[in-house]
């Protein structure tokens, strides 16, 4: 049963990831990427990483992909772009990606990792245990990440406002 779920979720995630780069319409790419993210969230549930599964759905499917969809709608890019690149570039990209896959498989082929004895209870993915680790051992990186978010928010707002400021300065200049 678990093996079946694993292979089902893996097939869905790989298929939707392929559709992301094969779809001509960017909106379809976004939608298939959302399905792939839900499949990855299913993998997290399978691994008993409940906190990560919830956060993954909220952050990726709920925030980041909605942001992508909004930008696509605002820029009115929700139509298939005419193909500007040649087929040669596409084939070269596919070959390069495939070669990377072959390299990784060849280098990881002889890995022999066994679950250690400490993993037996499988409770580390619960909110309680992760929160304990996050707010004791990793509290300084947690605070620094809040500063990163503040900087990203200020940067995004500043980038979005610049055009208006240019207009106002142009008006005062006139």
């Amino acid at each position: 049963m678990v093996a079946f779920l694993f292979y089902l979720l893996s097939a869905v995630s790989v298929l939707c990831a392929l559709l992301v780069l094969l779809m001509r319409n960017p909106v379809h790419s976004v939608l298939s990427l959302i399905i792939a993210f839900f499949a990855i969230a299913g993998h997290y549930v399978l691994l008993n990483a409940q906190f990560l599964a919830i956060v993954h759905v909220i952050v990726y499917a709920g925030a980041i992909m909605v942001l992508f969809l909004f930008v696509l709608m605002i820029l009115n890019l929700n139509k298939a772009a005419p193909p500007y690149q040649t087929t040669l570039v596409k084939v070269m990209g596919a070959i390069a990606g495939g070669l990377l896959l072959v390299t990784m498989v060849a280098s990881l082929k002889h890995s022999a990792i066994q679950p250690v004895a400490g993993a037996e209870d499988g409770q580390i993915g619960l909110v309680k245990n992760l929160g304990k680790a996050l707010f004791t051992e990793y509290v300084v990186p947690f605070e620094i990440s809040s500063i990163l978010f503040l900087a990203a928010m200020v940067g995004a707002v500043t980038l979005g406002m610049r055009n208006k400021k240019d207009n106002s300065s142009a008006i005062t200049h006139l």
Binding site: V2, A3, F6, S10, S13, V14, L18, V20, L21, V30, A36, H43, Y44, L46, L47, N48, L52, H56, Y60, I64, L67, F68, V71, L72, L75, L77, A81, Q85, G93, A96, G98, L100, L101, V105, L108, S111, I113, P115, V116, A117, G118, A119, E120, D121, G122, Q123, I124, G125, L130, A133, E137, S145, L148, F149, A152, M153, A156, V157, L159, G160
Partner: protein, 109 residues
Amino acid sequence: MNSAIPVLQAIPIDNYLWLSAILFSIGVAGVLMRRNAIVLLMCIELMLNAVNLLFTAFSTYLGDASGQIMVFFIMVVAAAEASVGLAILVMIYRNHKTVDVSFLDKLRG
């Protein structure tokens, strides 16, 4: 024993290695193949998620919470990166009327 996570016994961690390698390679191929900058950002998110999945798998298999904390921080950085990257893309679209990276060659010498 090990009743909390039956996946530990049913699935060897090699399968997660292969799955993450496939997803990461698809992301790399997408960055190389597509010219739409928004799809490029989406492929970068796909690569980050492949790494996240492998971090979580190793964290569960080895019984160490640090891997899942690392995934949490990767999600933080991915959210910040997506917001700033999309703001930059909106600015580029206002100035150039396109987000096709083939036309964004103004820095070429």
